[in-house]
Symmetry: C2
Subunit: 239 residues, 2 copies
DNA sequence: CTCCTTGTGTCAACGGTGTTGACGTAACCT
DNA sequence: AGGTTACGTCAACACCGTTGACACAAGGAG
């Protein structure tokens, strides 16, 4: 494990900044989280972070190699938050769905962070725990090792992909978001039946497009996995 | 869609730049496309774009209000490109998979653009054509109107979600991307079996995580839809 | 208690970024 | 031929991430 923090996490010399705050990696992540939540991802800069902390911006580099490193720490914190209170129910498929949904919700709870946090392999403790849990559910359902990894990967990436998408919508200015939702009615609702026969036929149902598809996506994925497991079991029994 | 170009597209005065190139909105989009393709999304800056065009960077602002505006124009071009040459094969499920894959690929061809272009409803002819085609395939498969819309929505959003995710990966600097791929081996490959039993068991297969899951996601979604259609047909036949 | 090491906050600077306003010139219209 | 003005250019602004030198106080050693 390559150390991502600049120093081995144990600090002895604790010198307060000029404004009296005693810095720490956790405190910096706190401040970054708050900054992004309140001001938007666009407002996240090392300089503003320094100002929010009451410290010189460059002090951050005593704790993180660079901004990327800091954002990875932020991402792992989100992963940890998302899994608090999760306990397997016994139904592996339902648990997997829940796992994906939690990843989605936590990513979406901070739309500004989701845009970049969903991308990276943090390789940090919280992420490792989640992966172990998810893969374990699939192994328990009887899938072989490679298939378990692949299915876990599909499930999580689909959940995070929808999060990235929906986070982008949330990031739009409210007025623009409303306009985009209207667009499904305005631009699609009255198309000529001869040129767009299918669209015309389903025109009443187009507003469904405005909502997130993540739950239905997870439903379908889990259904397919269930079917696969059932088929495999049947084949083994008949063998 | 609101007009994104600064002037009504019709140019009369065509003055060459100091290097002899005659600028146009199309030419600028061309250059931006080429720049991103060859140098990576990281290399896309207004200044480099100006250099590539053989013009002062600020000349771009005669054609586009800002960089976002330029990137939206680029996105418009992508939608058109993505569907050229698509023809239904007769297998509705395979066609839907292909539709999703095309959306994914075109979004991913320009990662920088995908990050936000996947979010908006353009409501333009190209988009309308695609939606009509996709919904039509599902109606043809026997799904009712609401289900057809929902399933189409799931499929496209999943494809675009994966595109947004994978685009983020591509946006990383090459060295960092390689490091991320290694991370699955380095940080996950040698975890203790007692604390992470499932991870330990599948450790050989973890590099699978580095690849995109989009094809398998589409496979599973389409499989679930096929199953649903088959179940419905069986129910109708038995009724 | 004093001294020394060194961790860590601060400062200034570098090279980059997007964007804007003033300016002049050359391309078109009359 | 002359006047308008579109548009390319230039210089400047206000930011950005990051780094190296520096100062100083916290903590250990004696």
């Amino acid at each position: 494990m390559t150390e991502s923090e600049r120093v081995p996490a144990e600090r002895k010399r604790r010198r307060p900044t000029s404004s009296g705050v005693v810095l720490s990696a956790d405190l910096i992540v706190d401040a970054a989280c708050e900054l992004i939540d309140s001001q938007g991802a666009q407002a996240f800069t090392v300089r503003k972070l320094g100002a929010a902390l009451g410290a010189d911006p460059s002090a951050v580099y005593r704790y993180f190699r660079n901004t990327e490193d800091l954002l990875l720490a932020l991402a792992d914190r989100l992963i940890g938050e998302s899994m608090t209170g999760f306990g397997p129910s016994g139904d592996w498929a339902a648990d997997l769905r829940e796992l994906g949904l939690r990843a989605y919700r936590s990513a979406l709870r901070h739309p500004q962070i989701a845009a970049f946090s969903t991308v990276r392999v943090t390789g940090r403790p919280h992420e490792q725990r989640v992966v172990d849990t998810g893969v374990g559910l699939l192994l328990g359902a009887g899938f072989d090792e490679a298939t378990a990894v692949r299915h876990y990967h599909v499930l999580v990436d689909t959940a995070l992909g929808h999060a990235a998408l929906d986070a982008g919508v949330l990031r739009l200015a409210p007025a623009q978001r409303a306009a985009d939702e209207q667009a499904w009615q305005d631009r699609y609702g009255s198309l000529p039946a001869d040129a767009y026969p299918s669209l015309h036929r389903v025109r009443e149902h187009l507003p469904l497009m405005a909502a997130s598809a993540v739950e239905r996506a997870l439903d379908l994925l889990v259904a397919a996995m269930r079917q696969e497991a059932a088929d495999r079991e049947a084949a083994e029994r008949g063998r």
